[in-house]
């Protein structure tokens, strides 16, 4: 759909007159969990990502997300839930995930990770552990 008019420029947004805990005006959040928060150590507000872990999928697919997960050994191999399977790809030493709820074949050089969204814990398949340790 063609917009009715061009975006008004110049445009400035300092978030100071926006409601706390609300989404930032005009920004469309795609699983980023951004909201308005007071600026720490200064006046006014900021737009802040407020979720330090993978958030629940708020009623829509998580496909295509790519975030880095922290690997915490104590979380490994608990309560595996097949419906929460993710695939993991090692990229330059980081671990990126891609939702595989649609059961697409994993791309090459990936390893299977299990993610318990209820407990928000990471359950790692043993074969990934072996791959990651090499």
């Amino acid at each position: 759909m063609k917009p009715q008019s061009d975006f008004p420029l110049p445009y400035q947004q300092n978030f100071d007159n926006e409601a706390l805990s609300a989404p930032p005006r005009l920004w469309y959040d795609q699983m980023g969990a951004f909201e308005i928060q007071p600026r720490v150590g200064g006046p006014g507000n900021v737009m802040r990502q407020v979720v330090p872990i993978w958030p629940d999928c708020w009623g829509y697919s998580c496909s295509g997300e790519a975030v880095t997960l922290r690997l915490i050994p104590a979380y490994i191999r608990r309560n595996r839930t097949p419906h929460d399977r993710l695939v993991v790809k090692l990229v330059h030493g980081s671990i990126h995930t891609q939702d595989s709820l649609h059961m697409l074949p994993p791309p090459p050089h990936t390893h299977t990770l299990f993610f318990n969204s209820q407990a928000r814990q990471l359950i790692l398949a043993q074969r990934f552990l072996r791959a990651a340790s090499t």
């Binding site: 400035q12 507000n45 990502q49």
Partner: protein
């Protein structure tokens, strides 16, 4: 386009128009239009980032210092502008601005 950013942990910020995205990593690297290099972009402090999409060159500036200057391949995309982090970390953004001039968006 300019804004302030404060990453509260290490992470990589990717921002810009869809055909001209810059990635700034708090571990000290940047990439833009196929080029890359090093920069000071430490977490837990505010940084000012500016992207200048000119007709003949594109410039990325961090804390007043030019990080990258691409002389060819001007961006043809307009809005939207996207902003993402490679990790779910606490991160704040402030004083976002887009200016339309002969040298900017």
């Amino acid at each position: 386009m300019s804004f302030e950013v404060n990453l509260e942990e290490h992470g990589a910020l990717t921002v810009g128009k869809k055909d001209a995205m810059v990635t700034l990593d708090s571990k000290g690297t940047w990439s833009f239009q196929g080029k890359n290099g090093n920069l000071a972009f430490a977490p837990k402090q505010w940084h000012t980032v500016a992207l200048n999409y000119g007709t003949s060159q594109q410039t990325v500036t961090v804390d007043g210092k030019v990080v990258c200057n691409v002389l060819s391949g001007s961006s043809k995309a307009k809005l939207p502008i996207s902003l993402s982090l490679d990790r779910y970390i606490f991160a704040s953004f402030d004083n976002f601005a887009v200016v339309n001039s002969t040298s900017q968006v």
